[in-house]
Symmetry: none
């Protein structure tokens, strides 16, 4: 948004010069934002609170972000990028053992575990809530946070179609929703408990259908 290509267009208020930006402040703001959201919840997390905790002037936040949600989104994205670079099984890769059922169950179990980790749960809940009500932010969230994961599903489902494990006439962008949406709804809206058994069941029902064969 607001692609700041090069020599900024004269918009009255001259845009900040990102080359002189303080990296230390950025990190401190990310850390403070995430910590506060986890500790006191999103509504009680304020720009002032973040600035104070980060040891930063308020203006430094307003200069670089447009809203509390914006700060949190970037902080969360940054967190996600960091964890990618951690050792261990790269979460940005989708397993492909040849058994689509087993592979999807695997991924969903990991997702369930993540949803039960407050460091993930609280900020992403907050962002999701904001995105529900603020369409612009919502679309940005989908594009920057969710789409990469969804693409992995699509890719794996295409492979399953090639292997004859999923019907060729099925749209993978819809198919993946059978795995993700019920879990997402239970998680976000507290409509039901989430567990490994539950996601396993989802995969079985989705693949084989509700109707008798």
């Amino acid at each position: 948004m607001a692609a700041q290509k090069s020599t900024q267009p004269a918009t009255g208020k001259s845009a900040p010069d990102s080359t002189r930006r303080s990296e230390k402040s950025r990190r401190a703001i990310y850390d403070a934002a995430l910590a506060l959201v986890v500790e006191v919840g999103y509504p009680k997390t304020t720009i002032e609170g973040i600035a104070a905790r980060a040891g930063v002037g308020k203006q430094t936040i307003y200069r670089w972000w447009s809203s509390k949600a914006d700060v949190l989104m970037e902080a969360f994205l940054d967190l996600a990028e960091q964890s990618v670079q951690e050792p261990g099984p790269t979460p940005s890769a989708f397993p492909d053992t040849g058994d689509i059922a087993a592979d999807v169950k695997d991924v969903l179990r990991a997702t369930v575990d993540q949803m039960n980790d407050p460091r993930f749960d609280v900020p992403s809940r907050a962002l999701a809530a904001e995105g529900v009500v603020n369409e612009q932010l919502g679309r940005e969230l989908v594009a920057r946070l969710m789409q990469p994961s969804l693409d992995l599903y699509i890719h794996r489902l295409r492979a399953a179609q090639d292997a004859g494990q999923v019907r060729a006439d099925v749209d993978p962008r819809i198919a993946l929703e059978f795995f993700i949406s019920p879990l997402a709804q239970r998680w976000l809206q507290h409509t039901g408990p989430i567990s490994h058994e539950y996601t396993d069941t989802l995969v079985d029902y989705a693949l084989h259908g509700l109707a008798p064969r």
Copy 2:
């Protein structure tokens, strides 16, 4: 702490006497809350604004509701109850033509239409967002707003099981999520367009499975 005649627990601040409540004020508050949410959005809807628009003292709101979300939830419930009593096809009945696919498609098309009506979309989005972040409210929303509809799905799916159109070993409470959750996620999180074709596809995929038969 003052003689407490019978029921409610003594909460220090004696509870208001609901028999003396002003029905006119309640209605005015519901109307103002819904109108404001639609007009200016949830975050800019304030208790002060509702009170002013309803021609009511702020205390009258605080006396009977605990938060902005609480007001809006009751206003929305009230709206739902009213529309039930309107003429036309009762939305609290689930069609049963004997064809589960057709019946579910029918209901989902109506749901899609509702989601495209701003009078429904804006307040329910606001409530859903609040419920994501506030678990207590979220559970209340599920219980009071969503559960009645879900029960209709469950009931219809059980009938379909009896009729042999849905496998007997399928849990209807999970099965219904294949119809509802993908649509809900697209709607709430803007993850994709919603249309009659889309929901029709959902029903077909869900009933017959993703895997080849």
Copy 3:
């Protein structure tokens, strides 16, 4: 003030029938008002508080009095009337031993003592403050609370003039101010300490003048 002689004039809102007034409530209101003023101070004494403490409906106060100050004034007058009927030296009599200096010193010493009694100090301070800012109430206070005492001074000073102890060309209504006003100002405005020595000095200075003879 709004003399309600007999068959009241049709003023729209029919005046309350004072013959049916509850004496018990009146007493309870007086007691509550005086107690609250002493305990929490005048500004924190509220009509609601008085009503609650007296076990009385707010309307019962509004029916018979026009303001908080009005209640307190009547309560205080009532208190004064009661103390008159107590045994001991009647304060409504001014001593006349033939020695004007001694008699005035006597009375002023009693006044000093009264000013140091919180039961008198707090409510009368509150009333005086209100009277400073609200002329109507101020005049009523003077007429109903202060004038009777002032008249005793005038009477005694006239006697002193007859006895040749005070110059005949002196206006007693001004002369009495030399005794009363300095003390009143020190008391009300905290401009100085008040004591028996102080009032004795006042009397001496006033009688014999500041200039050398």
Copy 4:
């Protein structure tokens, strides 16, 4: 509680930095406060009203003053300081023609005139009333507003003592009350009319005594 560099005691809420205070806002607040008190009276003068009229946020008032009375006191002091710097007879000087009676009459006549000027009367009445009930404020009023004038009286009376026009054994701090207190009481408590004749009489009575010589 946070590093407190040097002087002021750590009060939890760090004190505002008075070097960065907006002079424009201060002036606007003084003007608004005085204007409102004169126009609508003290009780109907509210902090919100002052802020609105001054075009200032409420917090800017609460940051620098502790109460409505505090604002008004400083506004009034500021007004007094300003009028000192005006041309004309400096009110901070007490005339000394050698005739103590004439000089005091002079000053009292000016005081009477001031009491009849609503710009002075209304705010100072309000402050006096507040000081009657709030001892802390009262003492501050005396020290900051009244004492300077009283000192002039004391100084002039000492000179009169040196000149043999006032008895040497008289305490000037008490003597001055004969001039000031009766006038103050008539003014504040509406116990009588105030005029030049009245104050002239006060001076004569006070100097020569009530008793025959």
